[in-house]
């Protein structure tokens, strides 16, 4: 499967995406606006609570082309963060007390400077999270990475949209489940996911279709039971993530006739408590070219940080960024539905 951008698909254009989730049908048009919901609970304009997580999208290249990918990542995407931009990131990290560096992509491992950057960030004593799709670690070029990451105490947070093969492969491609199980076993063997090793292995659940995630605690227990029973696999935590109506997932919603109902579901499930804890309030997202965004979703919609605040990593200014207004639109309902959604799971 090719990325939307390689297909010259109209939905590769962020403006088209925003127009669809605001105006595609009469029902969508009538839905209350996100800003209005925030205003009702005294949260508008949305402001940061203080940046604690430095999320770097090191490139859109990926070995997979999952049906729901909000990045539209894939083997045909060539955007990759340069060493120079990564150096700007290190410089910013040196001058702030941000403790967590969250590496995402694409497949972050495919950035040619990945190992060097992890080493440098480790020297700064930062807690490093790598968002892995698991299957990349089953390729020859990257098979030594699990041990490399273990040696540096890197947390691995990996995608596994369901505990069975049918649904996992439906979303991420045939063969994904079997490869993922193989890699999870390898990670377990070197200590990941096991008590007292300090090597955190977390899984990410996201719905395979047009429905919301259920209770995180209950799903975690189901994953624990099934993965142990079926494969002898253990892990630390499970994060449930709601699919946001952008990019490839938006394409699915439109082509399957689910857009109206899904948008309505997101809006009617708005939870003020989840809104309080949205991840854009404590996270900054850095794009592959160094551009700053409020979150990885805004990055894909090319919604830069507010005018007047730093918009590129080389202009890093924590104080100014902590004082900015966060940009929002209708896709943000995805982070505030039900128990809330973030890269770290529910927000309530």
């Amino acid at each position: 499967m090719k990325s939307l951008i390689a297909q010259s698909h109209s939905l590769a254009d962020p403006e088209v995406q925003l127009d669809i989730i605001n105006n595609q049908t009469e029902k969508v048009k009538r839905l209350e606006k996100f800003e209005s919901k925030l205003n009702d609970i005294g949260l508008y304009p949305l402001k940061p609570t203080g940046i604690e997580i430095f999320q770097i999208n090191v490139g859109y290249m990926c070995n997979m082309t999952c049906k729901h990918c909000h990045v539209d990542a894939g083997p045909d995407r060539e955007e990759i963060m340069t060493k120079e931009t990564l150096e700007y990131c290190l410089e910013a990290l040196k001058h702030s007390d941000i403790e967590t560096v969250d590496l995402t992509g694409g497949a972050p491992e495919m950035n040619p400077h990945f190992r060097w950057f992890v080493d440098e960030a480790s020297k700064l004593d930062k807690h490093i999270i790598v968002r892995s799709n698991l299957t990349i670690l089953d390729t020859r070029k990257f098979e030594d990475l699990p041990q490399f990451m273990a040696d540096r105490g890197v947390e691995i947070t990996c995608s596994l949209p369901f505990y069975n093969k049918r649904r996992t492969d439906a979303q991420r491609g045939e063969g994904t489940y079997d490869k993922s199980m193989k890699v999870l076993k390898i990670l377990n063997e070197i200590g990941y996911g096991k008590e007292d090793t300090g090597l955190e292995l977390n899984l990410v659940y996201n719905p395979v279709g047009a429905f919301l995630p259920g209770d995180q605690k209950s799903l975690k227990q189901q994953y624990k039971d099934r993965l142990w029973k079926d494969h002898g696999i253990v892990f630390n935590d499970l994060f449930t993530i709601t699919n946001l109506p952008i990019s490839r997932y938006l394409n699915f919603l439109v082509t399957s006739g689910n857009l109206d109902e899904y948008m309505e579901k997101l809006v009617t499930s708005f939870n003020p408590a989840a809104a309080e804890g949205v991840m854009c309030r404590n996270t900054i997202s850095i794009g592959w070219d160094g551009t700053l965004y409020d979150c990885d979703f805004n990055q894909m919609l090319k919604m830069k940080t507010e005018d007047g605040s730093p918009q590129h990593i080389k202009d890093w200014d924590l104080e100014s960024l902590n004082d900015r207004e966060i940009k929002t639109n209708q896709h943000c309902f995805g982070c505030t539905a039900g128990a809330g959604s973030s890269c770290g799971g529910t927000t309530t």
Partner: protein, 111 residues
């Protein structure tokens, strides 16, 4: 008037039934809410039971609602279909068990 007995949009108006009889409607929804809270059975188990019952009573609204609910609760397709088979087995068995009555009657009437 639309010439349809069932309209998926009507499911969203379920709460409006209190318009014609508020007191009983409110009592029903309070009871309904309590039934589906986590208790001796998990919400997931209750959603699977509801899905099975929805098929027995052939309620399209309930089938839609509890298909969505069971998916949300993390049930797999196999689990959902097995729940429907449990309902079908009971429903089929309920007919078949009356075959004993028929057999008794046949034996009584026959030489």
């Amino acid at each position: 008037m639309d010439k349809k007995y069932y309209d998926p949009e009507d499911l969203k108006k379920f709460g409006d039934v209190t318009e014609f009889q508020k007191e009983l409607g409110d009592k029903f929804f309070e009871y309904y809410g309590s039934v589906f809270e986590e208790g001796a059975l998990t919400k997931r188990e209750k959603a699977l039971i509801a899905l099975a019952v929805a098929h027995v009573i052939q309620c399209p609204y309930c089938i839609d609602a509890y298909t969505d609910e069971t998916l949300q609760e993390g049930c797999s397709e196999e689990q959902m279909m097995e729940a429907v088979h449990v309902a079908t087995a009971i429903r089929g068995g309920a007919s078949l068990v009356h075959g004993v009555q028929m057999m008794n009657k046949v034996k009584k009437l026959s030489m």
